[in-house]
């Protein structure tokens, strides 16, 4: 029986622990300084907004861990003695391991802005960040958020729920411009404005100004504007947390380098989740993917290797989802923000300008490589199959109904989408979906 120590109780570390338990009788210890129990990091915003309390974000009841013999240790790890296989805690003491899994997650980026360490300036990643934000945003009259990405818009929504006016600075032309194509990004821009967020695109932060007491008083932008605020959310992305392997025999680049078995260069040390960087990533994936699902899948995979079944990390098609205020987003496959030479796209937008789909396909073969959906839910399973089988645009548009995952009675847009397709691509027309009796009756 080996002792497996996992640093980090996020989705990656916990999934690894659970799956190791399913596969073996090894003794397992999960260490975290953040919280006693695993909670859903993605739900932090809902705690702040009062949709849930912390206890609701714990996916397993507290007795689960003891029942499954997963030891939980609340402590911060200061360093790891890789030669002697020991984890050393910041408050003293150590813990020996046979195998070590590093699942240390990410840290918020800060790009050396003047004043970035002032009180009232923060990112949002950990539970401690949430507590800090609760404290930092009490009785303030304006907040500035810097960075047009997922955490930035979440923060905007959080602050908005407390009626705190928000100025939202985005470096790109539109929201999440590094990922989203311009049509979709504009759609979200409109929605952000609809929620009365003071959105300012193509504006960069220059410096954060001290009020004399070590607290933020205002910010200056690169175009020379000064915006008074008592809170600054720095949400300009995250980077892998590699603190524990710096100056150690374990190799790291931006992240902790791992092979396809999620092993580091050092024996019996593995890295999974946000902190891991694939040495040779698959062509349709990135080397570092700091998303929930990757953490989960890596946790599932590493459990196999650790318990004796060498298992390659082989993620399927890329998928992701998010919710921007009220607009849900799902994506399957690859939809780049700018089309590559051999690519073309089919874009449909609903009359209400709040729903759209974008399908990217190969110009010559018509084979579809990915879809973005806003305000419409589609089935992961169906898209996984279509993309795996190399379905063409006409097939996909014709069969969109099969992929729809919207609740019953929701207005369906397949026929609109198909009509637009026929208009745009008259040489390969498809038959248009007929509405059912009930649907006609109710819509």
């Amino acid at each position: 029986m080996q002792h497996i120590v996992i640093i980090g109780n996020g989705i990656a570390g916990i999934t690894a622990a659970r799956n190791i338990r399913k596969l073996s009788d090894d003794s397992i210890t999960v260490i975290s300084g953040e919280t006693d129990y695993f909670f859903s990091r993605t739900a932090l915003m809902y705690i702040y907004m009062g949709h849930m309390e912390y206890r609701h974000t714990k996916p397993y009841e507290d007795w689960f861990w003891e029942k499954n013999r997963i030891e939980l240790k609340r402590a911060w790890v200061s360093s790891v003695d890789f030669d002697f296989k020991k984890v050393i805690f910041s408050k003293g003491g150590d813990l020996a391991y046979d195998k070590l899994i590093l699942a240390t997650g990410s840290q918020s980026n800060k790009f050396g802005w003047p004043g970035q360490s002032l009180n009232g300036v923060q990112g949002l990643y950990s539970y401690q960040d949430l507590e800090l934000m609760e404290k930092n945003t009490r009785n303030i009259s304006r907040a500035v958020i810097v960075g047009g990405g997922l955490i930035g818009i979440e923060m905007a929504e959080m602050l908005h729920s407390r009626n705190i006016p928000v100025t939202y600075l985005i470096r790109e032309k539109c929201f999440w411009g590094g990922i989203l194509p311009v049509e979709e990004a504009k759609l979200i821009d409109r929605h952000i404005l609809e929620h009365h967020i003071d959105l300012r695109v193509e504006v960069e932060l220059k410096e954060i100004i001290d009020d004399g007491n070590g607290r933020v008083k205002a910010i200056k932008t690169k175009n020379g504007d000064t915006i008074e605020c008592q809170f600054v959310g720095l949400t300009v992305g995250v980077h892998p947390n590699v603190d524990l392997v710096k100056d150690s025999p374990v190799e790291s680049d931006r992240g902790i380098l791992v092979n396809e078995y999620l092993q580091t260069n050092y024996p019996d040390v593995y890295a999974i989740g946000d902190c891991a960087q694939m040495r040779n990533h698959l062509p349709h994936r990135r080397a570092i993917e700091a998303v929930w699902y990757v953490g989960r899948m890596m946790g599932e995979t590493v459990a196999g290797t650790i318990t004796g079944t060498q298992t390659k990390y082989q993620p399927g098609i890329w998928f992701n989802s998010a919710k921007f205020f009220d607009i849900e987003y799902q994506t399957y496959g690859t939809v780049p923000n700018q089309l590559r030479d051999n690519e073309n796209h089919f874009y449909w937008e609903c009359e209400d300008k709040k729903k759209c789909i974008k399908i990217v396909f190969n110009k010559e073969t018509n084979i579809v490589s990915g879809i973005n959906l806003f305000g419409i839910r589609n089935r992961h399973e169906v898209w996984s199959k279509w993309l795996g089988e190399g379905k063409t645009l006409d097939y996909v548009v014709k069969n969109l109904e099969t992929a729809n995952f919207d609740p019953e009675f929701f207005k369906r847009y397949e026929s609109d989408i198909q009509a637009q397709y026929n208009q745009q691509f008259p040489d390969k027309p498809i038959s248009i979906r007929k509405k059912g009796f009930l649907e006609k009756l109710l819509t």
Partner: protein
């Protein structure tokens, strides 16, 4: 807009205060005329000396207490002297109070009705409707629910829960005290059926419908982005208003039996009572039809509809209890307990009630068709029996109760004490004695007694006082989840033979917990969703809120081929899945 909301709130609070104040209003004078017109001649002699006539009482409570005392004294003496024929069973207290009431409320029924219900509705709607504009674009708006004193068991929640419980106790057991409230809804009773005058059940039906309709509008505004929620809400509003409230009253007006076409056994537990069967079968063609309809609904309607749509066709689209839960109860849905422990208690309780209801009905029918069913059991045997079962349950299931850290001995003691207390609750020292007569050292079990006990324990206490009164404490489906025998029956069909399931969307779940938090039935939806497993639970009423609150589009209510309904947990994404 904000001013409209504020005014609305003030108006509503005014109406609510007036409603509460009207409880204390008026004076009561019993006259000889009233007395002799209401009390049966054979009782007049006995009661006459107990009452003071022509004395005005300023307090309804004192008045009612005096009336009750008079009757109680006679009954106590009659029992002691075993003069069974002299016991008074008639509810003179309510009728005499009603007739003796004078003062502002009695003289101005309509005015009070307007000030309380019409102004109250206006106020409530002024408060609710502007949210369509004020709360931002359509979408999930659960901001600050857990910061709110009403929604998260704060002082406001505690206060409203207490008021509800008190209301239910008065309504069910002491209706004479709420005579003024009953009088105030009389104008509506007259409108629907001029020859009737309102009673406690009319008041209840009216308030119930009122709550469903007004809070239904709140639901429509809140979920205006979800057509599933909109249609469902309109459906429960319609069924409550038409089927449960208006149609039965109109039937009575047309000299037909009072009948709610959407209610059915075993929720409608008096369906097979002798008086009910007789009333229906002796009321001509329509009565016979009602009787056949009632039976068809639960014999054929339930299995067929549940097979195609799941139990939601009833529980969250048609049912009155469901209707109230989904409208007035919506602000409390997040308070249901999601723990495994709660699920275990739920299964024990709800199926226990179903068994109890079925046995009770069989006994009642046996009595109807055959001879009286009767046996006496020694008191101590009755008390010991559940204690033994309890001890056994806790002993053999101790591993399923991981939260019970104690050892075997402790669990067994808990079992014995718990169930003994339950047994003792039926002993002569408690209020239950009234519903479970004890004769010397014996409990008398007869179909009548068991029926009465069911009515008291399940029909009144569980479904009413606890079921609705506990909304602000334990969520809006306490009754539906822990007690409703019809829900248990629908649930069994749903679990074993139905096309209905909630499907999860591949690997998109982020375990955030919104679905579980807002599941009114206390299902830990996330536990399934994060594993990619279909949610098939007998308790799921298909309200669709988990799907609505999911930020990643993971959950969907579907009726599909039965094949593959119980799927293996698969969360997509990993090609090389080893488990």
């Amino acid at each position: 807009m904000k001013a409209i909301r504020f005014t609305g709130l003030i108006l509503f609070l005014f109406s609510l205060s007036l409603f509460l104040a009207s409880f204390f209003m008026g004076s009561y004078t019993l006259t000889h005329e009233i007395f002799s017109s209401i009390v049966k001649p054979e009782h007049q002699e006995m009661l006459r000396n107990s009452y003071e006539f022509d004395r005005p009482y300023a307090s309804g409570i004192t008045f009612v207490n005096h009336l009750k005392k008079g009757i109680d004294e006679i009954n106590v003496t009659a029992r002691a002297e075993q003069r069974w024929g002299d016991i008074i069973y008639d509810d003179y207290v309510s009728t005499l109070t009603r007739a003796s009431a004078t003062g502002a409320v009695t003289e101005n029924e309509l005015l009070f009705f307007m000030l309380i219900y019409v102004v109250g509705t206006m106020g409530a709607l002024m408060f609710i409707l502007p949210q369509a504009k004020l709360a931002g674009p359509p979408g999930i708006r659960h901001n600050h629910i857990f910061h709110n004193a009403l929604n998260n068991r704060g002082w406001l929640g505690m206060l409203s829960g207490t008021l509800l419980v008190v209301f239910y106790i008065l309504l069910y057991f002491f209706p004479a005290y709420i005579t003024n409230w009953i009088i105030i809804v009389n104008p509506v009773q007259k409108l629907l059926n001029p020859s009737a005058s309102s009673g406690q059940w009319f008041l209840y039906g009216f308030l119930y419908t009122f709550a469903v309709i007004v809070m239904g509008f709140r639901m429509l505004v809140k979920y205006r982005h979800s057509r599933y929620q909109v249609f469902r809400t309109i459906s429960v509003m319609f069924f409550q208003l038409a089927f449960a409230f208006v149609i039965p009253e109109l039937l009575v007006r047309l000299n037909q039996p009072y009948f709610d076409f959407k209610n059915m056994w075993p929720l409608d537990y008096d369906f097979f009572d002798a008086w009910h069967i007789n009333m229906l079968t002796q009321s001509g063609g329509l009565g016979i039809f009602m009787f056949a309809w009632g039976i068809t609904l639960f014999v054929i309607g339930v299995p067929v509809f549940v097979y195609f749509f799941g139990k939601r066709w009833y529980c969250s689209w048609v049912c009155g209890c469901g209707g109230l839960a989904e409208t007035a109860g919506d602000p409390f849905r997040q308070l249901s307990d999601k723990s495994t422990e709660a699920w275990q208690i739920e299964r024990l309780l709800i199926h226990g009630v179903l068994v109890f209801g079925v046995i009770m009905t069989i006994l009642v029918l046996y009595n109807f068709f055959g001879e009286d069913f009767y046996f006496a059991v020694n008191k101590w045997t009755v008390l010991a029996f559940p204690a033994i079962i309890g001890a056994g349950l806790f002993f053999f299931h101790r591993k399923k109760f991981p939260y019970m850290k104690g050892g075997k001995v402790r669990n067994v003691i808990v079992g014995i004490v718990g169930f003994f207390t339950l047994g003792a609750a039926f002993s002569e020292v408690s209020v239950f004695a009234k519903y479970m007569p004890v004769d010397g050292n014996n409990f008398n079990f007869s179909s009548g007694n068991i029926r009465t006990m069911y009515g008291f324990m399940i029909g009144s206490m569980f479904s009413g006082v606890i079921g609705t009164g506990f909304y602000p404490f334990m969520g809006n489906r306490v009754w539906c989840r822990f007690g409703c025998p019809l829900a248990a029956y629908l649930g069994l069909v749903q679990r074993f033979k139905s096309k209905f399931r909630i499907t999860t969307n591949g690997g998109q779940c982020i375990s955030c917990g919104n679905c579980s938090t807002y599941c009114e039935m206390g299902i830990d939806v996330r536990a399934y969703a994060q594993r990619g497993q279909n949610i098939i639970r007998s308790s799921c009423v298909g309200c669709g809120v988990c799907s609505a609150v999911c930020p990643r589009g993971v959950l969907n209510l579907e009726n599909q081929n039965e094949y593959g309904r119980f799927n293996q947990p698969i969360s997509l994404g990993n090609v090389n899945k080893i488990i």
